[in-house]
Every structure is written in structure tokens, then in C-alpha cells.
């Protein structure tokens, strides 16, 4: 049986990044993971925007924020990666996405405030180019029309306009999506816009409403995998810059990323075993032996080293029963509050965030998970992404960035 150089467990941002980085370095890679990872992403690549959480302090310069964070929180996973590594990681990652039709953009060394489906502004570092015109429109408070659709739940242009009282020239219109009725789902709308004729129909409806506007914003439905082409076409048809507003996950941001990796990773020689969760993990000095999936269809995989990027609870990297939190694959020790009473705070929106979100794996400098005795669990087992302890990606706005950076570091620290 073939022994791979590295086994990547997980298919979220961290897992995909780890597989990509390892493959780019000429390593033979096998990857397992379930849907529910990358598929639920918002598409934003946050780096770091909030610190300290309790003060809800928002930083414009993520690297300044990183410096402060490294000073205040010595256990935070970001303390394991340098700014250079972060930059290189993000570059390599977004280059790959670019090659597969997903262009990303941001302000060098600065966070950008992006419009969310709720109308709130979210600080992030890199964002899909299809959103970029929206940033300009927002920053210049330009005359802008935001369109939404009958039957598309969870995105109200009117809400955005109400919440963005600071943007008086923001106008809204609710229209019927051509060729579809009743309840609409972003993915289906996006697929249907693969057909240029459908785009023309859409533009015909929007054009008369957009006469005043300098920019036109749509919910994120402009194409599935050929987004930039669809966007360009809509701009031609409407004669003005067009942008997308992300809808609530599961939005099409996830499937877009998934498609890019499903296409790109096999091309790089990565063997993927999607929907096969690791059911047994054995290891020796020599390396690892995994059983992925169960029953007659399970597969045996061996690898010299492994990167654990299996995410948190929704990603199935961590499991919680009524009493404890467990790590799903190796049952590694998980840093966590004494008992369940300590997991969550009494207020959902408590600015300090919930303790349970800081639970996770302790690692050494090479991101190797530690066993109870404080030594690395295995010399060639590394961890990356949300499963790491002492971080709250949701509140600190560091999800994708942390995942990609730690994946980069984990791959860089692989030794053979």
C-alpha cells in the first residue's frame, strides 16, 4: 500500500490550505474531510480585526493588531507564525484561487470594511473581487442601487438601507428573478446565470431602476464558477460597476471555493477522500495508519506525517458530550473549562465571547499538538486552523487567516 508523505485531515480553510501548500512543495498528499467545512464559508479572508475582544476594539491595521495580540495573548496560535509567513501563506493561497477563477482583493496591510447581508460592516482583510465595487461605493457613499428578489429569504435590501442610515444615496428595489418563482435559493440562481440570456433578462429588469445609480449591488448570485465573467457581463449590460453582497451561509461563497479546490487539488496530485471521516488512527515512530470511512467501503491510508485540520464542533474536529470536549481523531487532550457550566456565558452577545470557543489543542512552536505530559503527541503530527486553543476566530475576525497561516506553518514544519 502506498505511503503518502502527508495526510491532511479536514477540508475547511485550514485543510484545503494545508493540502495545497503540501502539494505545491512536491509532497504526496492524501486528504480526508466532510462537507460542512469550506462549504459554509462566507468567502471573506479575515486576518485579525478585533483585539482585545472584551473591548470590541477594531483595528484598521491587522499587523499592528497582531503585534498587540502577540504581546497580550502569548498562547494565541498567531504567536506561532510570523507576519512574513502569514503574508506568504495568503499570497500562495489566493494565487491558487485566482488560477481557478476566484479573484481576491484587499488593501495592502489594511483591513477593509465590507457590507454584510445584515447591513452591518465587517472588517476583513481579503475579499472576493466580486464584492470590491461595493467597497468603493460604500466608502464614497456613492449613488447606489441595491437589488433584492422576491422569494430570496434572508437578504433584504431595505434592511441594508435602513441599517446604513449613513448612506443616504443608497436606494433599493425588490424585483422578480427572471424565470424563477416561489422560494429561491442562491445556488440555483447562480447556476441559472451561467446562461448569458438569463443575465440579459435580469439586466433588462434592473436597468430602468438603476438610471440614477452609479453602482448596482446584487445578492451574491452572480455565477457559480465563472463569477468574474458573469460580473463583467452584467456591468456591460448595465453600463455601470456591479458588486455582490454576500448572503448568509450556506451561500454560494462556499460552493465557489469548494469547486476551485475540487478542480485544483486533484490536478496537483492530491488524493482526496471527501465524506470519509477518519474512523481509526494508528501511529508508530514510522508514521500513521488511518482507516477512513466505515464498513466495506472504508479505505486504509498510511502517511509519514499528518496535519490535523479537522475544525471545531460543526467541522467535527471536536466532539462534546454532556461532560467533556474530546478531540475526534486521536483523542488528544483538549484545553477546556472545568465543566459545562463554564462553556457559555449568560449573554449570547457577551463581548468576551464564550469560553468554549477558546477550547482546543495546545501545541508547541511547530504546531505539534501536546499530549498530557506537555510533550508533542507525535513528532510528525501537526495541527492547524480552528481546532487550536486560545483563539476565538468569530469574535477576533481571524478565521480564514489563522487557518491559512497555521496550515502554512504546519506544512513548513514537516520533517522527513
Amino acid at each position: 500500500m502506498k505511503t503518502y508523505d502527508v495526510m491532511v485531515i479536514g477540508s475547511g480553510f485550514a485543510g484545503m490550505a494545508a493540502a495545497l501548500f503540501a502539494a505545491n512543495r512536491g509532497l504526496s498528499v492524501v486528504q480526508t474531510g466532510a462537507t460542512g467545512g469550506i462549504d459554509f464559508s462566507t468567502g471573506f479572508i479575515d486576518l485579525l480585526a478585533v483585539h482585545p475582544m472584551a473591548e470590541l476594539r477594531v483595528w484598521e491595521d491587522p499587523f499592528a493588531a497582531l503585534a498587540a495580540l502577540r504581546r497580550d495573548l502569548p498562547t494565541h496560535p498567531y504567536c506561532r507564525v510570523s507576519d512574513d509567513e502569514i503574508s506568504l501563506a495568503l499570497q500562495e493561497f489566493t494565487n491558487f484561487l485566482g488560477q481557478h477563477g476566484l479573484c481576491y482583493r484587499g488593501k495592502a496591510g489594511k483591513n477593509t470594511l465590507a457590507l454584510t447581508s445584515a447591513g452591518t460592516l465587517k472588517p476583513t482583510y481579503l475579499l472576493p473581487c466580486t464584492l470590491w465595487n461595493g467597497i468603493e461605493a460604500l466608502e464614497t457613499k456613492a449613488k447606489t442601487l441595491i437589488v433584492d428578489f422576491h422569494g430570496l429569504k434572508g437578504l433584504s435590501a431595505r434592511q441594508i438601507a435602513e441599517v446604513r442610515a449613513d448612506w443616504p444615496d443608497l436606494k433599493t428595489a425588490r424585483i422578480t428573478f427572471p424565470g424563477m418563482g416561489g422560494e429561491l435559493y442562491p445556488e440555483h440562481m447562480a447556476w441559472s446565470l451561467a446562461d448569458p440570456a438569463r443575465r440579459t433578462e435580469l439586466a433588462k429588469i434592473v436597468a430602468p431602476l438603476a438610471i440614477e445609480a452609479q453602482y448596482v449591488g446584487f445578492p451574491a448570485i452572480l455565477g457559480m464558477t465563472d463569477t468574474s465573467a458573469v460580473l463583467r457581463h452584467m456591468e456591460e449590460l448595465l453600463g455601470r460597476p456591479v458588486f455582490e453582497i454576500p448572503t448568509l451561509p450556506p451561500s454560494i461563497a462556499g460552493p465557489r471555493l469548494r469547486a476551485a479546490f475540487d478542480r485544483g487539488l486533484p490536478d496537483l496530485g492530491v488524493r482526496t477522500c471527501t465524506q470519509k471521516l477518519v474512523t481509526r488512527a494508528g501511529f508508530s515512530e514510522a508514521g500513521f495508519h488511518f482507516t477512513a470511512g466505515s464498513g466495506s467501503t472504508s479505505v486504509e491510508l498510511s502517511a509519514q506525517s499528518a496535519i490535523l485540520a479537522s475544525g471545531r464542533f460543526f467541522g467535527k474536529g471536536l466532539k462534546a458530550d454532556r461532560h467533556r470536549i474530546h478531540e475526534a481523531v486521536f483523542d488528544l487532550p483538549v484545553t477546556q473549562p472545568k465543566n459545562r457550566s463554564g462553556w457559555h456565558r449568560t449573554a449570547f452577545f457577551d463581548p468576551q465571547g464564550h469560553e468554549v470557543n477558546q477550547a482546543g489543542l495546545e501545541t508547541d512552536v511547530a504546531l505539534r499538538p501536546l499530549s498530557a505530559d506537555g510533550n508533542p503527541f507525535h513528532p510528525r503530527l501537526h495541527a492547524a486552523g480552528a481546532i487550536l486553543a486560545h483563539q476565538d476566530w468569530m469574535r477576533m475576525k481571524c478565521g480564514a487567516g489563522l487557518a491559512i497561516a497555521t496550515a502554512y506553518k504546519a506544512v513548513a514544519s514537516l520533517q522527513f
Partner: protein, 536 residues
């Protein structure tokens, strides 16, 4: 500042106040019902929704047992729409008190409560979820009642007979001159407007808050607060009510509520009726205990927990001798020097009608009204107000008779936009601090597995589209709603619910940054103890 005049003022729109409004209305007495928050936001909304057969009390409180039996029969007759006549089982497992088991049938007989013995095997065929360690089982006539529908139907008949009601109107002070309450000063908690109410007679039906209200008139009631927590399972684990066959204790009862089951309860002394919430520790205690009777409870998925506060009127100097029954307390405050002031509190959901009847009798005696009570004979007309609170009703009517392009906004419980619109239109101005919360209280929105995670933002969008909210208000109300759900959600977060919460925070904070921006309304925080009504 406006002034309202009414013959009788009822404070507290729990099920007792609602029943009282109807009782008086049927006797031709005009009354006004005020409620500081919303219907059933007290213990009336924070209980099992169990229509007692009485069997639970056969050993501890025979009088209460008989009351339950009689009232149960009456309610089945006059308010069938609010009752699911599930029947019930009393079951004992290995290790339970065998003497109690042995005495049970004769005790039931003594209180005239029908009770049929089953062999454990049969019981487990009827209810497969029951434990293999079953040693005894008896069938009784328990049922499930929808307290929210019950209150709303009572109120709506009261209104139809010329009485009136105001929500979000809190009594803040009372002017007492010459042994009479002349005026009650109230504040609208939504608008802050002051309202003066002049009434011939004031009836305090504010349940756990009765002591605080009585104090406004200088009267004193010695009330102890006992908090009880309950948990809701995602599935209807049993078709019937399942009671633990032992002296009344914690985690004894599992009541089916449409498509879910409700497990409880506990009893903890708390200093005040406000600010209480179910805790992780209590939730675990309930499960650890009840799983002996129903092992599935260890594995099954839970939706949320909630708590209610029972008012226990202690045998203090104040008017115990006048108490009609140990089940509940009817107090004439003449003894405290206030002639036109009554308090009715304590009791059980099952006996709410009797409490209303007794209070109304006394009130009528004081008012010199001779009309007799009719609530035990007159059937309670079903109203549209309460119908969307019944689990499974939304989806059924949506599938069977939906209008074109009426889309579903709450996926878990399949509450459609049309239903939400009808609720918004009825709720009108009396929205409280959060329109979406008012909607949640009158429908299944936010009651399903997602606990508002997905339906919250969707309904909020709709409220903006309908111009019910503007500016940041919608977001603030969404956050208020979320915090309200969180109270019940946070104690059951392990396994899948934890994933659900993980996903919700990723949406709210990871994607929408809702931890920024307007804070949730805190007024709810300090004053509301109970989650929106949960039972069928």
C-alpha cells in the same frame, strides 16, 4: 398621561387573570386586564402544560387531587381545542419505593381517580421508549393542555363581551385613600406613556409577582419563590404523559406537546421571581434522574430548557384562614385595610378556572353582583389568536391550504410568511420590546432546533420589508430575541445542539458582526424571568 375607568381592574395576564376576565365578562361585569409584558409570561407559560388527572397528588394532597380530577373533566368538556387528551402512565422502575407503588391504586380509588394497572411488558409496547427496568405501570387520564391557547381564548371571549386588555402596561403605584384604591398608576413599557386607571375593584392575579403588586397598596403577602426548570426534546418521545410513580419529586414528568416532549421539573428556592434562568447543573440533574425511566433521554436531541417560578403563599399571618384550598390562595385585603383589593395566586394550571371562579364570586359579592359563574358550563369559543402556537399546525395548514408564493420563513417549524403577517397584524402596536419576540410568542418561530439561528435574521428581514422596524431597531430586536432564546438554549449545548450554536455564532458574529452595534434591550434582561411560552 391618560386616565382609564373600569369597573374591575385585573393585574396580570396569566391564565388566572385571563380566566378571571372571561368569568367576570360572562357575569356581565366590565373589566380591564393589564399585563406588564405579554400573555403568560409568568408561570402560566413556564410549566409542563400538563392537565393533571390528580393521580400525582393522591398521597400528598388529596384535596388537590380531587380538584384536579373535577377541573380536568370540566376543561375537557368546555375547552377541547386547548387539550390533547393523551392519557397518561405512572411508571416505577427497579429501585423505586415499592410501598408507594403498592398503595397507589387504593389511593387513586379513594380520590375517585380512574387508574388501571398494566403489566410492564404491555406498557413498553404502548410506549417503546420506556426503560427495560420497568416494575410497575398504571394508566390514568392525564392530558396535555396548551396554556397559551387557553389564555388567549379566555381573553378573546372576554374582549368580545366588552372587556378590554392592555399588554406592556406595568402597574407602578397605587393611590389608596380611605381604605380604597382610588387610582392605579401604570406605565406603558414600550412607549413610556403614563396611564391612570380608576376601578371599583382591583384584583391582583400577578402570580409570583403578587407580593410586589400587593405591596403597592401597602398590603403584605408572604410569598416564597420556587423555580422549576424543564427541558424540551426535539421529538415526541412518548405518545402519552409519563409520570414517575413515586412521591412527587424532581424530573418526574414527561409531557407530550404536539411534536415534542417536555421533561421536568425541579424546585429551587429563588430570592425573586425575576432574572431566573435554567442552568446547566439543573438540566443535567433532570436528565440523570429521568433517564432511569426513559433511557432514550441520555441520547436524544434537546431543543432548549426553560424555567418558571411557582408562587408559594406561606402560612403567614395574612389571611391563610380565608384560603379556599391549600392548592391556591384567594386573599381579601380588607384585613390589610384595603376594601376593594383582592389577590388570587398559587394553584395549578389545571385548576385555573376554579381559581377564577372563586375570585370572581368574592369580587361579585363585593360589587353586589348576583350573576352566577358560567365558566364550567359555557364552552370556551376557539379564537384565532392562539392557533399558531400549536406544534405541527403551521406545517399542516401550509401543506394543505397555502396560498400561492407564501414562503416559509421559519424552516424548523415551518412557519410561513403569511402566518407571521397575520400575527403582526393582530399584535398591532402592543409589540413590547421586540416585535420578533412577540411573533415568537404567538407562533413556533424560534422554537425549533435552530432556536432562531436562521429564522431570526429571515423574520427580521421581513419586518424591515414590512416597515415594522427602521434603522438599527430591527437588529436590536433580533438581538433581544436571540438573548431570550439563548437563556433556554445555552444549558443544553452539547452534541448536535452545540454544533447548531457553533453555526449560529458563526453566522451572527463570524459573518454579520452582530456583537457590534445596538445592544439588546436590557429591560427584558432584568424583568423577564421566563422564556416565551413553550408548550403545545
Amino acid at each position: 398621561m391618560s386616565t382609564v375607568t373600569t369597573r374591575v381592574l385585573i393585574i396580570g395576564a396569566g391564565v388566572t387573570g385571563a380566566g378571571l376576565l372571561r368569568d367576570l365578562a360572562l357575569r356581565g361585569v366590565q373589566a380591564l386586564l393589564i399585563e406588564q409584558r405579554d400573555v403568560n409570561s409568568g408561570a402560566s407559560g413556564g410549566n409542563h402544560g400538563l392537565l393533571h388527572s390528580g393521580a400525582r397528588y393522591v398521597a400528598s394532597d388529596r384535596e388537590a387531587a380531587v380538584e384536579c380530577r373535577e377541573e380536568g373533566e370540566i376543561l375537557r368538556r368546555v375547552a377541547p381545542q386547548c387539550i390533547e387528551d393523551t392519557g397518561g402512565l405512572f411508571v416505577a422502575v427497579r429501585g423505586d419505593d415499592e410501598r408507594y407503588v403498592a398503595d397507589f391504586p387504593s389511593l387513586c380509588a379513594a380520590s375517585g381517580i380512574p387508574c388501571r394497572g398494566l403489566d410492564p411488558g404491555t406498557a413498553r409496547i404502548v410506549e417503546p421508549a420506556l426503560s427495560e427496568n420497568l416494575v410497575a405501570a398504571f394508566a390514568v387520564q392525564d392530558g396535555a393542555v396548551d396554556p397559551f391557547m387557553l389564555s388567549l381564548d379566555n381573553i378573546s371571549q372576554g374582549l368580545s363581551l366588552g372587556c378590554s386588555m392592555r399588554r406592556n402596561l406595568a402597574a407602578v403605584s397605587m393611590e389608596v385613600t380611605g381604605r380604597r384604591i382610588t387610582r392605579v398608576r401604570c406605565r406603558d413599557i414600550t412607549t413610556g406613556e403614563e396611564v391612570l386607571i380608576e376601578a371599583e375593584l382591583v384584583i391582583n392575579a400577578s402570580g409570583a409577582w403578587a407580593g410586589l403588586i400587593a405591596a403597592l397598596a401597602g398590603a403584605h403577602i408572604n410569598i416564597l419563590f420556587s423555580m422549576g426548570s424543564l427541558i424540551i426534546t426535539q421529538d415526541r418521545i412518548a405518545t402519552q404523559v409519563i409520570n414517575r410513580l413515586r412521591p412527587p419529586s424532581d424530573a418526574d414528568i414527561l409531557v407530550p406537546g404536539g411534536t415534542v416532549s417536555i421533561l421536568g421539573t425541579t424546585s429551587i428556592r429563588v430570592p425573586s421571581p425575576d432574572g431566573c434562568r435554567p442552568s446547566v447543573a439543573e438540566t443535567d440533574r433532570i436528565i440523570d434522574d429521568a433517564r432511569l425511566m426513559l433511557p432514550i433521554l441520555e441520547r436524544t436531541r434537546y431543543i432548549r430548557a426553560y424555567a418558571g417560578v411557582r408562587p408559594l403563599v406561606s402560612l403567614g399571618p395574612a389571611g391563610d384562614d380565608r384560603a379556599v384550598s391549600r392548592g391556591f390562595s384567594l386573599i381579601d385585603h380588607a384585613a390589610d385595610g384595603v376594601e376593594n383589593f383582592l389577590t388570587i395566586t398559587g394553584g395549578k394550571l389545571t385548576t385555573y378556572r376554579l381559581m377564577a371562579e372563586k375570585a370572581a364570586d368574592l369580587a361579585c359579592a363585593k360589587l353586589g353582583v348576583s350573576a352566577p359563574c358560567r365558566t364550567h358550563t359555557e364552552t370556551l369559543p376557539p379564537s384565532t389568536l392562539g392557533k399558531w402556537t400549536e406544534p405541527g399546525r403551521g406545517p399542516r395548514s401550509w401543506v394543505e391550504s397555502r396560498t400561492e408564493d407564501d414562503i416559509v420563513l421559519c424552516e424548523c417549524e415551518m412557519v410561513s410568511r403569511g402566518v407571521i403577517d397575520s400575527i403582526i397584524d393582530e399584535a398591532g402596536a402592543m409589540r413590547g420590546r421586540s416585535m420578533i419576540k412577540a411573533v415568537g410568542m404567538r407562533s413556533r418561530v424560534g422554537k425549533g432546533p435552530c432556536q432562531g439561528g436562521f429564522c431570526g435574521p429571515r423574520v427580521t428581514c421581513h419586518l424591515y420589508d414590512r416597515k415594522m422596524v427602521s434603522g438599527m431597531q430591527g437588529l436590536a430586536e433580533l438581538k433581544t430575541f436571540t438573548e431570550r432564546r439563548w437563556r433556554g438554549f445555552s444549558p443544553i449545548l452539547w452534541g448536535v445542539p452545540l454544533m447548531q450554536a457553533d453555526l449560529q455564532e458563526a453566522l451572527y458574529c463570524g459573518a454579520m458582526d452582530l456583537e457590534f452595534g445596538p445592544p439588546p434591550s436590557t429591560l427584558d434582561e432584568e424583568s423577564e424571568c421566563l422564556p416565551a411560552k413553550e408548550q403545545p
